[in-house]
């Protein structure tokens, strides 16, 4: 293999695949990144067997070939190259990669590319096409609600279902639920439902740059995998096996109190409350006061800690329905407010022990449910 690439391209590619590298695996080749010539471009791949990322970058190829080199050190090396041009030259007999840039000459010992797990090469003919901007926003609004507890793998995933021209994502960690819908530009060839690891989706959101139009999604039959393709990168992930809880049942159908409030003010109040709440049990109280005939309603957001003190913020609100005192985990509340784009948000609930539903005002596609807390 003999190729020349631009340093900035190589850096970008290595950074894209870096999250799939598994540095502490029992399989040494998984700590490496695959470098291979591929139809006039250079292909970089990394995988931890759960998730794999491939990225193609432009290169001047003089001689075809492939190898793997330690991902971390290769990236560090490339980052500090003195010249914009990086020459890669592989000695196949010793699997040593000569890397030259300007006056810098390096020899890196690699592992034969044959040992690298093969990446699936799916057929993108029947792919579902989703706008990158939409998809990234969906991931951002849903993935954070997934669980990080490995005891319940299903909840570590995001339920993605495509039916006709609607795509829905849902994630829950046992205490909260995030659901986001979006419309596809074209009707999907067949309905699809799968649980995709939240981590893989977050990675996808990271590597799909906004400039791109479409992300393509395919699930090759019988492989238990999903493959996403953006312009010059692919991400493959194992699907999570299991049954996702029937989240439709969890979403309350009615409410007795609806509070309209400015998203930014509420978020700011929550952030302040969190400073105190995090010392104790993360509990924040929302005292929702009914709007009278003439005066506006308000929400009093308060938190206190035995050790540090207490905080209280009043936020103006339009309250429709009964007044209520309800408590939430402030982290949950803050996290959902951070992903809501609309200027106003509605909190719907029925009782201190009933779920709270958070909806952006004017956006029917997003919905978030948080279970309340209460003192024993």
């Amino acid at each position: 293999m003999k190729v020349t690439v631009l340093q900035e391209n190589l850096t970008r590619g290595l950074s894209a695949v870096s999250r799939a590298v598994s540095p502490r695996s029992t399989l040494p080749v998984l700590a490496n990144v695959l470098i291979a010539t591929d139809e006039g471009r250079l292909r970089l791949s990394a995988t931890n067997l759960e998730m794999g990322i491939t990225c193609w970058i432009g290169a001047k190829i003089e001689e075809e070939g492939s190898t793997t080199v330690p991902a971390r050190m290769f990236a560090d090396l490339v980052n500090t190259m003195p010249d914009n041009q990086v020459h890669l030259n592989l000695d196949t007999r010793t699997q040593t990669l000569h890397i030259q840039s300007g006056a810098s000459k390096n020899d890196v010992k690699g592992i034969d590319a044959q040992e690298f797990p093969p990446m699936p090469v799916p057929d993108f003919d029947n792919a579902i096409n989703i706008s990158v901007a939409d998809f990234k926003e969906m991931i951002q609004q849903v993935a954070f609600a997934a669980s990080t507890d490995e005891a319940r793998p299903v909840l570590m995933g995001v339920l993605v279902s495509v039916d006709k021209d609607t795509v829905t994502m849902a994630a829950a960690d046992g205490y909260r639920l995030s659901v986001r819908k979006s419309t596809l530009s074209a009707v999907a060839p067949s309905p699809v439902t799968a649980i995709i690891p939240a981590r893989a989706l977050s990675e996808l959101a990271r590597i799909a740059s906004d400039g791109e139009q479409q992300v393509q999604m395919v699930m090759p039959k019988g492989r238990g995998q999903v493959v996403f393709r953006v312009k010059d990168a692919e991400l493959v992930s194992q699907l999570i096996d299991g049954t996702f809880p029937d989240y439709q049942q969890i979403i309350p159908r009615s409410h007795k109190s609806r509070t309209l409030v400015s998203t930014a003010s509420l978020l700011k109040a929550c952030k302040q409350a969190e400073i105190f709440a995090r010392e104790g049990s993360n509990i924040v109280r929302l005292n929702i006061k009914n709007s009278g005939e003439l005066q506006p309603g308000e929400v009093e957001i308060s938190a206190h800690s035995e050790e540090t003190g207490k905080n209280e913020t009043l936020v103006e609100a339009t309250v429709d329905g009964i007044p209520l005192l309800i408590a939430f985990n402030v982290k949950f509340l803050r996290e959902v407010l951070e992903v809501i784009k609309t200027p106003n948000v509605a909190i719907e609930t029925s009782a201190p022990n009933a779920p709270g539903v958070i909806k952006p005002v004017g956006d029917e596609h997003f919905l978030h449910v948080i279970m309340p807390m209460h003192l024993g």
Binding site: R152, R176, N329, V369, L375, G376
Partner: protein, 605 residues
């Protein structure tokens, strides 16, 4: 007062006292009778934990009408004829006392139809007074109905434990017999719903699951062994059953069950033999779980030791014990050559026990290192909450795991962090020397005091779950949990009873974070059975202790310097920083004086 012969009712009540001690013993006698009668299906109904009603129905051979009256007589049995038969008893009962004894302390109705009889018959015994035999239509088999147990023995009635305890005893008994007779269908009804039901298809592992819970049953190892060295000391011995792997332990011996020729016995030498088989594989104070079925020639074992027949004598005890020990040891080693840290076990299980066990090691090693030195005797304070330096070598701590601690107001001096060793211990310097701190134990202590403080302020918030989680527990743990629901509520667990042995978790304490509610709940009641009715305070401390154990940072986790410092300063603020909630020491103190002497700077040369 002149000596006189006791009235027959008094005599029979005294005799009954030996056999019929509590509702569970009635169940035991009746179930054994049913099994002796060759029952294939056995249904037990109880009401008010057996106080009001115990009804045992079987489809066994039944009793002919003309023998019915005899059946309820004292010393009347079909199982034994001559005294010589006593030495080769193959039935569970033989004394001919059970029915008579039960009849003398309750209102007993015996309904039975022999297999070949056209019509059944029934007889009623009330406080030992026999009624008349009346013909009655009945299915083949026998139904014994015991109502108002001990109605005429108020003293006994008064000494019965609370309903839950009595019910637990019955649950445990039934499950164990179900295990011993897997091909008999057992059903235990408490009210309209069955609390125990077995298929009678011979599958012991399924029954094991209802005794210990599914997770534990899956881990149990099967053992099979035979000793056919027929010497003069006895005939063939066969052993079958299930034992726990070394990674699965309990804090008491309650889960060690022995059956000899199908009879549940509590024989301490046998359990000692079993525990010895685990020698070096278990931590001190931990015991295995086991259900062992021993088959031997009836001539080699004497069951006629005590009316309740829970004790036996072996003709060749040594042989029996060593057989059990060898068989278990072999089974154990075949499955797990070395005691392994259960990595796959979920976090709630024993892994923290394992890690906390490690903390004994440095003490032991240190003792070894200096014990073999002829130099000055090591003076190390073993810190136990009191500030009195005692001159002693360090002993690996074998403190009993009591939840309650003497409250002392001894705070730590200000400590300067030096670093972490082996990702398990912190080293700190104080004004009076060196402190070695076990990070897990220390964190447990810190959390424990925080939790108890919040608890005392009734300030433990609960986070509701999106959808309730169902947890099914084995009957024994279930009734225990049921009795502790309010206490769990104070700790932020919103748990409701939801049908037999099933609970619905609606909310979790915030402290638990993202952990799986089902396994959290299981971990809380696992081996919680040692005290039948501990004081409420103790229970609370115990639950808190268990919660903390679960949450505390584990040994082997590298902490960054900020975390280490935070742990130290939290520990400094504790009221009794020197022991963990389970009584193990959190730290070892090596005084400046000791260091100087060890380095030969001062003192004896």
């Amino acid at each position: 007062m002149s000596i006189q012969i006791l009235a027959p009712e008094v005599a029979s009540q005294i005799a009954a006292g030996e056999v019929v001690e509590r509702p569970a013993s009635v169940v035991k006698e009746l179930v054994e009778n049913a099994l002796d009668a060759g029952a294939r299906t056995l249904t037990v109904n109880i009401a008010e934990a057996g106080r009001r009603l115990i009804e045992v129905a079987d489809d066994g051979s039944g009793i002919p009408a003309d023998e019915l009256l005899l059946a309820v007589e004292r010393h009347a049995t079909s199982k034994l004829v001559a005294a010589g038969d006593l030495f080769r008893i193959s039935t569970l009962g033989f004394r001919g006392e059970a029915l008579a004894s039960i009849g003398s302390v309750s209102r007993l109705t015996l309904t039975s139809r022999a297999k070949n009889a056209e019509i059944g018959a029934k007889i009623r015994v009330e406080g030992g007074i026999m009624g008349r035999v009346e013909p009655v239509g009945a299915p083949a088999g026998t139904v014994v109905r015991v109502e108002d147990l001990f109605y005429n023995v108020p003293a006994r009635l008064k000494f019965l434990k609370q309903d839950l305890t009595e019910r637990r005893a019955i649950d445990g008994l039934m499950t164990r017999y179900a295990l011993a007779y897997p091909s008999v269908r057992f059903r235990l009804m408490d009210g309209p719903t069955p609390t125990l039901q077995t298929a009678g298809d011979g599958d012991r592992r399924a029954i094991l699951a209802s005794l210990y819970g599914v997770d534990v049953a899956k881990q149990m190892l099967e053992v099979l062994a035979e000793d056919d060295s027929t010497t003069e000391s006895g005939g063939v011995m066969r052993l079958s059953g299930y034992i726990s792997p070394a990674s699965l332990t309990r804090s008491n011996r309650k889960d060690i069950t022995f059956f000899i020729n199908g009879r549940w016995v509590s024989d301490t030498p046998l359990s000692t033999a079993l525990i010895q088989a685990y020698h070096t594989l278990l931590m001190v104070g931990r015991f295995p779980l086991a259900a062992i079925f021993l088959e031997l020639d009836p001539q080699d074992v004497d069951v006629n030791v005590h009316p309740a027949k829970a004790e036996v004598r072996f003709r060749a005890p040594e042989r029996a014990f060593s057989f059990v020990q060898r068989a278990v040891r072999r089974g154990l080693l075949a499955y797990s050559p070395v005691p392994s840290v259960p990595v796959t076990q979920n976090l709630w299980g024993g892994s923290s026990n394992q890690s906390s066990g490690n903390s004994n090691q440095p003490g032991a090693a240190l003792e070894w290192a200096i014990g073999h030195d002829e130099g000055p005797r090591l003076q190390v304070e073993r810190l136990e909450g009191e500030n009195s330096p005692t001159e002693s070598t360090i002993q690996p701590s074998n403190l009993p795991e009591t939840g309650q601690l003497p409250i002392t107001n001894y705070h730590l001096p200000l400590l300067r962090l030096v670093g972490q060793v082996g990702a398990t211990y912190l080293i700190a310097e104080g004004p009076d020397g060196l402190y070695l701190i076990d990070q897990h134990a220390a964190h447990e202590r810190v959390l424990f005091e925080k939790l108890m403080l919040q608890h005392n302020q009734k300030n433990i918030p609960s986070q509701a779950l999106l959808s309730p989680v169902m947890v099914t527990l084995p009957p024994q743990s279930a009734s225990l949990l049921e009795s502790q629901l309010p206490t769990l509520g104070h700790f932020g667990f919103q748990v409701e009873s939801f049908g037999p042995n099933t609970f619905q978790v609606r909310g979790m304490p915030v402290l638990f974070g993202n952990a799986d509610p089902a396994s959290a709940l299981r971990a809380l009641v696992e081996d919680f059975e040692e005290d039948e009715s501990p004081l409420q305070d103790e229970i609370e401390a115990k639950i808190a202790g268990r919660v903390c154990k679960r949450l505390a940072v584990k040994a082997g986790k590298a902490l960054n310097p900020d975390e280490q410092r935070a742990l130290l300063s939290d520990l400094e603020n504790c009221d009794s920083p020197r022991t963990c909630p389970h009584g193990r020491p959190t730290m070892i103190h090596i005084s400046v004086d000791l260091l100087e002497r060890q380095f030969g700077r001062k003192g004896a040369r």
